[in-house]
Assembly symmetry: C2
Homo-oligomer: 213 residues x 2
Amino acid sequence: MGSSRDRPIADESRDANDADVRRQLIDAATVEFARNGFAGASTRAIAVRAGAHQPQINYHFSSKEALWRAVVDDLFTQLSSFLEPEGTFEDPVDEFRQWVLGLVLFSAERPELSRLIMHEAASYNDRMNWLVDSHVGPYLERRVRVWSSLKDRGLTEAIVDEFAYFALIGAITIPFCLMPHVERVHGPVDYDRATLERHAEGLVRAFLPGLDS
Amino acid sequence: MGSSRDRPIADESRDANDADVRRQLIDAATVEFARNGFAGASTRAIAVRAGAHQPQINYHFSSKEALWRAVVDDLFTQLSSFLEPEGTFEDPVDEFRQWVLGLVLFSAERPELSRLIMHEAASYNDRMNWLVDSHVGPYLERRVRVWSSLKDRGLTEAIVDEFAYFALIGAITIPFCLMPHVERVHGPVDYDRATLERHAEGLVRAFLPGLDS
DNA sequence: ACGAACCATTATCAATTGAACAAAGCGAGA
DNA sequence: TCTCGCTTTGTTCAATTGATAATGGTTCGT
């Protein structure tokens, strides 16, 4: 254990250390939580992956739960950078299209967020309540409103309204959520920007047949 | 469902007891595994929910893992009863439509299967390997073949091929997988057969715009 | 140079986990 | 009635969990 293999810091890093451990811990926790869920991820496994020691988790974050929330905060920050403009659209179709594309690109790059949510979303626990209250809630309401607006224009597919948003979320994220399986079936897949854009546009047209371009 | 939940054996049950404990344990484990994942579900919580004792799990099943596999076997048995005909179709469109409807109806009644899979599918572990090898594998290949067949006829939406099946699976199951959230947003939803049929048809037409009925 | 604040590191805690074991209960057949 | 096989029940174990305490070292302000 005492070897230099698991040493957390390189010799050159003097003060980079400060926030660096936090960063390493968050990145490691993102992987572990996304793979194994909250209960399945142990703080020791996270620490090993981060090249740190287990008590450092309780030092830099107050608890395992707080680390989990920090991971989610971090992922949603990254997500928002993919959905940047957000609200500057006049045409709901443009907004819808931009949102689908942004979510596709984000899910391809960071499938961890969807995986993390899927682990918690099967029931209502404290973590899920926090997630809905502090992140998903208002965001989701806006999406529902855009969908209503599109429906009023007669553009939407005849999917049951209550399910439309979640069906779309599923269609967008599940292929990336289950990427190991996609590749098991189809072999390695490459996600050039062009392919992802084509995919996003396909989904838009599937859910908005009224566009009939 | 069982009326006497907190009692392991009803007084009347003489030999019904034999397989009854197995049944109770599987039902309880289905709930616990679906809610909390494999790691998050404890054998003690399962036993309490089943009105049984924790060591009975290792007696009737050899291990927690074996119980999990029994749960999955049970759920797939129920699924197959929803997708009954399976292979008697000449027209791939009929087969596709029947499959979507079956999966919608099943997911509405037993969202546990999708939830259970979502918990495991984020990475490849022993459980996921077993699940793919013994249940999902050939089933999935058939779906991919049907999709190819539909694509050859120019019926499919221009979704990236490798993602089509998984996007559809996501669109079908996620609304039921995340039912607590659907109801949090839209209030209680009722799943009359008619509504579910309408929903399934909407999804079919979304992914097969070539039908343009 | 001194001490204070910060952080890494080791060791250890109580609680919970899945599993194992032994003994008792119980029904059926000889 | 007695015995045998299956099941239940109570207890216990080793391992793992998240968290804390204690110690040591480094950096910076004064």
